[in-house]
Each structure stands twice: as C-alpha cells, then as structure tokens.
C-alpha cells in the first residue's frame, strides 16, 4: 500500500500550534530567559548564568517557604483524602437523596477562590466573625491575624472546606461504578464491611483516588488566591507559601531574575513529585 503524503495536514494543526506557542511555550521560554539574566530596567539585560538558581537554592527564605508549602500540602492531603473517602462511603447510592448530596457537595467548588478567601477572612474575625467570635466566647484565645498557629488552623480548615468535595465526588464516582454483584458476592462470602472496603471498594477506587491526590497535590502546591486574601502570608512570614513568596519577589521587589529562577524550580518540584507519585501508584498496572 502506498502512503499518501499530504503536507496540507500541517495547515490544519497550525492553529493549535500557534495557541500552544502563545500560551505555554513563549511564556515559559520568557521565564527561562529571565532566569539566566540580570536587568536593571530599561530592557537592558546582562548574562547571569546560573547565579539566580544558586542563590535561590541556597536561600533560607526559599527553604522556609518550601517547608511551609510541603507542610501545608501534606496536611491537607492527609485530611482531605481520608475524609473525602469516608463521606463518599456514607453517601446514599440510590434514591432521591443522591442529587441533593451531589449538589451540596458541589457547592464549595462553585465559589470563586478569592470569595472563599474573603469569606473565611470575615468568618474568622475574632470580634465579629462567626467562627472567631464563637471560639473566643467559649474560651479559646483565637486570632488568626496575630497568632501563626491560628492562621495555619484557619488556612487548613478553609482548604478542607473548599476542596474535600472534589475528593468526595471523585471517590463517589468510583464507588457507584462498582456493580451490585460485587457486594452480593462479598455477602455470600460472609465478608465484613472492613473486608468489603479493603478488597472491593478501595481497589475499585484506586484510579480515581490517584487522580484526586494528583489534582489536590498540584492545586494545593500552587495555591495563591485564598491564603493571600485570608492572611496575606502573615502573621509575619508564617503562612508565606511558595506562590506568595514568589509574587513578593517578582512584583514586590521586582527581582525578575531570581523570581524566574524560583518559578522554574517551583515548576520542577511539582513535576517531580507528581511524576513520582503517579509512577508509584500505577506501577503494577501495565500488563
């Protein structure tokens, strides 16, 4: 058989290529470009080599922000994934309540991110916020604008409130796709509800949970809007996550070179973690 060569095909993929070039490749290369140069404004650039990368990787400020970021992401994953699975297991699988539950679960996901930040900002105010006032009234000395511990507590609570639904919805989708026959077979075997969870539900949810963890990992690692509205990184630097720090360097101090280098390191860290996680989770599935 002769292969027909049709060079016109390139013409048809051109729009996509242009689109990708402008929204991904060009900006990324700009950042790469900045990361190896120094500028004092006026569009004058000097070659800086890997100096910014060395500076960032050695800076305690970056280490601290990265540490805070890892702590934040680790904590919310450790809470949201099990909690999401538990809620999904408790949701009804049939009947009129299914849609009610689904709509309720989808609600937090529909709220714009800066609104979520503003909501919790007000919610937590010690003098007039429902949460802040209540906690203070019952005897807790709660003030998220002054005490780092309280700021973290509020930040994590906010993220759990906002994003657990996503895990719930994905886990639920995994659960309802299990045919009834599996549950019947387990009942015939006399399997306990723990055994049903361990040997039927969990393995059947593995794929969607992998996706859920990946999404939550990447999103929480990139999180900016909500903490920036809620605490602005404070008190002090206590809740300054990577993205907040990055914006401070890039826009606050206008250090384009270090900010660009940091962006690339940031990007590579996310890529690395996601890749490791995905590889480990899908290892045994190739055949």
């Amino acid at each position: 058989m002769n292969k027909t060569v049709n060079q016109k095909a390139w013409f048809f993929v051109l729009p996509v290529l242009i689109l990708v070039a402008f929204n991904a490749i060009v900006p990324l290369m700009t950042v790469v470009n900045y990361s190896v140069q120094e500028t004092f404004g006026d569009n004058v650039f000097f070659w800086a080599g890997l100096r910014w990368f060395e500076e960032i990787l050695r800076s305690p400020r970056f280490h601290d922000a990265l540490g805070r970021q890892l702590f934040f992401t680790g904590t919310i994953l450790a809470i949201e994934v099990p909690l999401g699975v538990i809620i999904a297991l408790a949701m009804p699988r049939k009947g009129p309540w299914v849609s009610v539950c689904l709509v309720l679960m989808a609600m937090p996901l529909l709220i714009p991110w800066n609104v979520v930040g503003a909501m919790w900002n007000i919610f937590g105010l010690p003098e007039l916020g429902l949460l802040g006032k209540t906690l203070n009234t019952i005897g807790f000395d709660y003030n998220y604008t002054r005490q780092p511990g309280d700021a973290w507590f509020t930040l994590i609570l906010m993220d759990v409130w906002h994003w657990t639904s996503l895990v719930v919805l994905l886990a639920y989708a995994g659960l309802v796709s299990i045919p009834d026959a599996y549950y019947q077979a387990a009942r015939i075997d006399g399997a306990s509800s723990w055994a049903i969870f361990r040997y039927i539900q969990l393995p059947k949810m593995k794929r969607v949970l992998t996706i859920a963890v990946l999404l939550r990992f990447m999103d929480s690692f990139n999180i900016y809007t909500e903490p920036s509205v809620l605490t602005g990184g404070g008190p002090g630097n206590s809740t300054t996550l990577l993205s907040i720090d990055l914006v401070k360097i890039a826009l606050g101090q206008f250090d384009l070179g270090p900010a660009a280098a940091m962006s690339l390191i940031y990007f590579l860290v996310i890529l690395l973690f996601s890749w490791i996680f995905y590889t480990v989770m899908t290892r045994g599935e190739e055949q």
Partner: protein, 359 residues
C-alpha cells in the same frame, strides 16, 4: 437437602417481580431457569440465596424454613454474568477467600485450591491478578471460588453470557460434569433454549415473573405445558397461527388444511410448530405447503434461517444446508404438521395421546 419455594412472591412497590411460585429442587439436581431478560430469573435466584427477602411465601432448605436467614449463614455460592473477583488479590487468594472466612487450616486451603484450580485448568495462573487474565480465565476463577467451598446450593446466573462462543462451548461441556459428584442443588439461569437443551437436567421456563413450566429439560421441550412455555423454549421463535378444527380437518386461516389427528375436538386452536419442522424442501408427502413472501434469509455455514410472511403470520423456517432466497419473492415451504402443537383457547397444550385414547 432439597430446596423448596413455597408460594414465594416478590413485589417492589406496585410492580410484581415474581408471582407466587412453587418449586422443589432435589439434592444433586441440575436445574435451569430459562427465560428472557426481565423474566425474573435473577430475582428468583436471589431469593433462593437469601440475598433478597420474598414479600410473601417461604423458602425451605433441607426441611427447615430459611426465609429470613442471612446469606452468610446459609451455605450458598453464586456465579454472576460479570466476572466477579477481588481485583487486588491473586487468583489463589481469590479462590481461597471463602475457605479463609470459614477458618480452614492453611494446608487444607492450599490443597483444595490446588485441586479446584486443576479442575478449572487455571493452575498456571494462581499467582496472577484477575485483571491479567482473559475473560474465560476470570470466569473460571469466579467458578472455582464458588465451587471450592462445598456449598449446599450453587447458583449460576448466566455465567457464560459474557464469554465468546468457543469458551462457552467448552465450559458448557464441563459444567454438568463438575456438579455430577456433588450432592448439592445447582440452579443455572440462561436466556438460551439451546443452552438449556445442551445442559440437560430440569428446566423451569419463566415468563414475566411466573414459572410457566417445570420438568425434565427434554420433556419440557417436547411437551410444553402451554403456549407461553413453548414460546419461551424455542429459538428461533416458534411459528404460531390460528386454526379451526372442523369435521376431521384442521383449517388454517389462509386456507391451508390437513387431516386432523385422532381425538382432536372441533373448535378454535392456536397451532405451534417449531422452525426446524418448516423446510424449504419437501421431506415427506404429508407435509403441508405454506406459501409466503420471503423477508430475510440468514444463511450460516450449515443452516438457513428464512423469515417469511404467510398472510397474517410471520413464519420462520430453519433447515440444514444453504438455501438462498431473495427477499420479496414468494416461495413455498413445507411444514410437517405431524410435529405441531395444538393449544386450546386458554393456551394449554392439547394432549394428543390422551385425546386419541379417549376417542
């Protein structure tokens, strides 16, 4: 260890899924539930197993009432149409799971799993996961799990439906042998009349939530109790036509007639004749000629299935050999009416032998 259903019925809301049903399955018997999808086979099986509670009536097993007893407390196995195995357990662990729940010693478990795997010809697969097996092997694993624990009642719900033709033949062949030495009640649901005939045993023909016929499989096929039973148990569908019996002759609506059998009382009947008794070639002089317009001719390698319209009735002819027909053409078919069933106004089969003796 007989299984008895006493007036068992199942209603869900206003819908009746199973009408009051009485059935007795003897120990060591192979029983087939034959019926189309939604005939109630699965519901009936689930009530036998104790997975569903009947709305009324009782299930008795081995002389005791087990109606409300949970499925875990009965000694039941079930195989499904989908291949149901624990996804992240090896084949060995899958087969061993019911024995482990029963708390058998390790040695005994590996001995029995080994034997069962050999019988099912999956010995080489024991270390693999179900997802690494072919459909047939997955179903063999599911069957091994069901058979390994010496159940009193084994339920198979269309176990071969999702397998390809070759595997289906193989397993269908092996199945009755696997149960032959056991003293348990086996119930097998299928939608295919041919499968029921090949498996033998006893058949309960089901239609719209009722058991319309029950008895030895061949017997039910040759002497269906009535019109519904004959319809359930015929593939391709049985040919039906209205007929009148008058002064010793059977008259079909379209003016076709033949001499009535002895003892057939005068009156209106529905006649039923299976497609393989209607042939495009004349096989005996007594054959009755039916003329019709050919609609579709399905030619398989060795058989011809020809659908044709004779006056008001759709007819099907099933014959050996390849008989090509152009659709839209008129053709003559030869029906061997000595093989036809006569159903009275209530749809009951007229027992010609008894009627002949009485006359």
């Amino acid at each position: 260890m007989a299984l008895e259903l006493k007036n068992v019925a199942k209603k869900v809301g206003a819908d009746t899924h199973i009408h009051p049903t009485n059935l007795t399955f003897e120990p060591g018997s192979f029983n087939i539930l034959l019926g189309t999808t939604l005939a109630g086979k699965t519901t009936l099986m689930q009530m036998m197993a104790g997975l569903e509670k009947p709305t009324s009536g009782e299930v008795w097993f081995n002389g005791s009432n087990v109606t409300g007893v949970a499925v875990q407390k009965r000694n039941v196995s079930m195989v499904y149409q989908q291949f149901i195995n624990y996804p992240n357990m090896s084949v060995f662990d899958n087969i061993a799971s019911p024995l482990r729940v029963a708390g058998l010693p390790k040695q005994e478990i590996s001995k029995r799993v080994g034997e069962m795997a050999e019988l099912m010809r999956i010995s080489e697969m024991l270390d693999r996961r179900p997802s690494e097996l072919s459909g047939g092997q997955q179903q063999r694993t599911a069957m091994a799990r069901a058979l390994v624990k010496d159940s009193d009642l084994i339920l198979l719900d269309e176990p071969l439906a999702n397998l390809d033709f070759k595997l289906r033949e193989e397993l269908r062949d092996e199945l009755p042998k696997l149960f032959a030495e056991r003293n348990c009640v086996v119930v097998y649901a299928t939608t295919e009349p041919t499968e029921a005939l090949l498996l033998g045993g006893q058949t309960a023909a089901m239609h719209e939530g009722r058991v319309v016929d029950f008895g030895p499989t061949g017997e039910i096929y040759r002497h269906p109790s009535g019109l519904t039973s004959a319809m359930v148990f015929s593939e391709p569908p049985i040919n039906l036509a209205r007929a009148q019996v008058k002064s010793g002759w059977v008259l079909l609506d379209e003016g076709v007639s033949w001499k009535a059998e002895n003892g057939l009382a005068e009156g209106a009947y529905t006649i039923g004749i299976r497609p393989h008794h209607v042939s495009p070639v004349s096989r005996s002089e007594k054959s009755v000629v039916i003329e019709g317009k050919v609609k579709v001719a399905e030619l398989t390698g060795s058989e011809s299935i020809i659908h044709f319209q004779a006056h008001d009735y759709p007819w099907v002819s099933l014959s050996h050999g390849v008989h090509p027909f152009e659709s839209g053409r008129f053709a003559r078919f030869y029906a061997d009416m000595s093989k036809c069933f006569y159903f009275d106004e209530d749809g009951r089969l007229v027992d010609l032998a008894a009627a002949g003796e009485a006359a």
